[in-house]
Symmetry: C2
Subunit: 644 residues, 2 copies
Amino acid sequence: MSTATTRTDTPLAGGDLGAALLAAFEGPHHERRAAGRAVFPSDDMLRDPALDLDQARAWTLDRLHALVAAGIGQAIVGVEQATADTQIQSLIDFETVAYGDLSVAIKSGVQHGLYGGAIAGLGTPEHHQRYLADALSLRTLGCFAMTERGHGSDVASLETTISYDPDAGEFVVHSPHRSSTKTYIGSAAAHGRMATVFGQLVVDGVERGVHCILVPLRDADGNPLPGVSIGDNGHKGGLLGVDNGTIAFDHVRVPRAMLLDRFGSVDEQGRYISSIENPNRRFFTMLGALVRGRICIGGGAAIAARRALSIATRYAERRTQFRHAHSDEESPLLDYLAHQRKLLPAIARAYALGFAQNDLIDAYGTVSSDSNHDPRAQRALETLAAGLKVMNTDFANSAIQTCREACGGAGYMSENQLTQLRADTDVFATFEGDNTVLLQLVAKGVLTDYRDVWGGLGRLGLVQASARMVGSAVIERTGAGLLAERLASTARRRGDSAAFYDRGWHAWMFEERERHSIDSLARRMRSADSNSFDQVNAMQDHVLFVARAHMERVMLDSFIAGIENCPEGAARQTLEELCTLFALTSLESDAGWFLAHNRMSDTRAKALRRQINQLCGDLRPRATALVEGFGIPAEWLGSAMLDG
Amino acid sequence: MSTATTRTDTPLAGGDLGAALLAAFEGPHHERRAAGRAVFPSDDMLRDPALDLDQARAWTLDRLHALVAAGIGQAIVGVEQATADTQIQSLIDFETVAYGDLSVAIKSGVQHGLYGGAIAGLGTPEHHQRYLADALSLRTLGCFAMTERGHGSDVASLETTISYDPDAGEFVVHSPHRSSTKTYIGSAAAHGRMATVFGQLVVDGVERGVHCILVPLRDADGNPLPGVSIGDNGHKGGLLGVDNGTIAFDHVRVPRAMLLDRFGSVDEQGRYISSIENPNRRFFTMLGALVRGRICIGGGAAIAARRALSIATRYAERRTQFRHAHSDEESPLLDYLAHQRKLLPAIARAYALGFAQNDLIDAYGTVSSDSNHDPRAQRALETLAAGLKVMNTDFANSAIQTCREACGGAGYMSENQLTQLRADTDVFATFEGDNTVLLQLVAKGVLTDYRDVWGGLGRLGLVQASARMVGSAVIERTGAGLLAERLASTARRRGDSAAFYDRGWHAWMFEERERHSIDSLARRMRSADSNSFDQVNAMQDHVLFVARAHMERVMLDSFIAGIENCPEGAARQTLEELCTLFALTSLESDAGWFLAHNRMSDTRAKALRRQINQLCGDLRPRATALVEGFGIPAEWLGSAMLDG
């Protein structure tokens, strides 16, 4: 019988390499993130899973106060005060919060990002002055009341009405049907005092489309105000600390000044005024002002995935199982190829996503603080935000699950944190935009430069109409993508003889997958009847493939640029290997496509698996350093199985 | 604005077709399953997710009593009384229980299947007479104490000792190290009075390998007995109604008669006696006697997946979202291709798994009641049980997750049941055998006919040694596979020109994937050094591929045989389409392999996607009938969003 199965003498320290990886990985936002970690209140940062709903909600609210006391979440400002600095800080704040319990993160996101963000993004300077400070300080706890029972993804079809009563100079907020009830609204069930409510604005009998208005929900004692009916969504699959609830309005009257009317207002004479003529463009401009939420959710999911990968990797270094042939020594789990293949490609992908998120954060800082509103840059930002939200949240769910299983029975114990992470991030795939719907927006963004054609065609028609505009796929690259583009064209000239680790070959292949799938989709769309549901519907899987191919290419571009910014040395060399592992894993998962489209030879496709195995083996001794590069202090992981 | 978004007039009834599908799907076990449903106590069958740990455990125990009152779980008998009938009934009982809360199912599995099953499988007629009735009636609540902190998958390395003291005529059960503590043991934390404890038998200073002994844990008042230390695993990622705990023994004395000594005993003179000379063969014979647990877990996971697919499909029929172009009508989610691709291939795979499980159940009935113990049939049974446990549990986890996401925010609300199903089945992937480890056992089973070479080589070495025995891959088929074999050889003679729906082509391709991967693995193994960890480890992903390729082929074989047993008519036609959808989806997921190995042309590979889309569209109008074929009464789904 062998005895010890938990190594205590394993060299867990990546040390210098981990620190260098972290600096490179966090890139332009490294100092800001480090500052966030320095002030993050890390005592009692993980929720006791045994708390019941009421206890969990109370604990979460307490933690939210602790965050505010630490100054986290205070960077939400109106557009008139926005600088790249404030805008980026608001994103980093959410990442910082995601080091702790994710109910707290989401509660903070609802309060600061969504409730505060709606005031900041859709309101005027008067609204900012009047409501923002109370939102940020938690003097007014707020809700973001968009989703209804009947419509979630299809925001344009919301049923709540916001009707102007010119005699009283007030708006009447009303839920006409059962399906109009707001639902899944964070902070509604217990704590919310005020809500930013989305509904159809009706002025003088004319529907003006979806607008947002502030509506008080509860009095100072917490009782619902007249006309406001509040329900409790009760127990959920996760995020038990967030008090999600339902809200229905029965002709609730609100002063005219509470309409968040940056993009569309009603004057004292009861006339509707908007600087944006086209109702569809107005709608999408308003939604666009809320893009921060998606960026935060993607960023938060990324942190959750890194926490899980940090836990599972550190455990796989310690936990041994099965004796060697003819030896009494047991191997750490991470010595097994099957285990390496579970964790190391996931780590590589986490790096890819992180570099892409850095670029998205930069883009948000620039675009959202630019007073010369550039619609093209805004569109590109929204596409990237939607796409990275999908890639990050899908990845988090699958990677955390992989980590859970990689830790066996221990992984299932709540004290080891993996199941909570999994349960909490689950919903990230469908809130702030359902991932399947968002991928269709990404494809639309890829297919067109013309937002203006985006009207009246419904979800599928709009993609098709966009495709008519383009002759053939143009893969546009800015900053981060320029180096990848250069590498790809060199490789293309050289042909299929490149080495597996040749970055140009990767960039070329990723580009081919994107370009060819766009071209063929655009061709199909041009010959289809956009009024035929069946014909448009038949392309939906192709649309999703295009979106994913695009995002993979964007991630590789960012990874390549990120490496370029890393000084020569061990960290850079490690990043090169991680990038190759990411690229080869992506190519392997679509090997069928590359072969069927003659982009890869049989020999090369067959060798992919061997190359990936080799890379896993090469990186394995540095595994601890790789997760140190994620920047999550080991003592914050809170996983009992890593103690002692 | 559109109004209603939930159709109440949708024709949800599949009616006759659903009933015919169910009869075919449940096949030889249809009547027995229907009888189980008829007696299943369906009142209060789903746990209130808001119950705290203590409440959940008490509720679960109550439900267990209700099951016993209904006669469910009573079919566990010693080998001397076993008939195909008793053995099959014990499996169907677990499936029936899985219609309700899965904590109850697992608690029942621990009590009847594991605790009772260890007594039945490892004990003698005296043990059966003395302990089995109390186990089945719940007079003695029991634990199955195998896993330790230090060793889970590697059962042979358990550290607990069972040492014979000849002077006292007693065994001394002891946990020598912290890593020897039993952990994750169901019913240990609160309810268990007795345990079947696995440990190293030591007789007269000689280690005799892992054996199992009955050890009393608590007195009549529920207090731990002297020398027994019990801990609580506390909150888990799911299965909150199961009181998992830890058990450590400090020189606990147990009478000699409590050793479950069917395969190895100690006589009054203190001599060790076993009918099985080879210690490795003895070890695996004992584990083999416990194969029922794996079959049950696979079957339970299958039921959970069907429950989720039933919920998500019925919701996708009702829930509408997004208006058509130039129309005010909204489409049900299931009209969208992307949604069809989420649910319909999963439904097809659930059918494939169900047919394979039917064959596994038959094999268990035959083998486990056969008094002329046939080691070859036993080995085949164990391989199939391990493989289907993996395929069923992996599928359940991914399918339930897909269903959760397909229901959007509603899917995340506990009242709709999907998140509980997901949380509860999560651990199915790693208990009763870690899926990655089990796949390696499957590959070993596929590679060899000689259990006897299975000694002393460790997990990887044994696979290699086995491979040396075979010259080239022989895919052996019995009952269910004969028809598939005939179809495949006809198709092989005809070549690549077969239609996409040609069953022979599917069978041929599945066979090619399996045969070629076995051949190449065996070749690699013959040239590797079995003492080199690195060389053997480098093949681990290949080993996993072989196991999966084998299981896919087995599932197709069973599906084909299942269709053959279905009378001509609409149900059979529907099963043909489902089988094609299953086959094409499996081929698509390995398209890279088929192309790189020249088993499929580019044109054919590219057309796969279109064929799958077409099949989804064809099956879509019958979606409700397809899930009716799963046999779960709609009123048992307990999903609030399906009401009204």
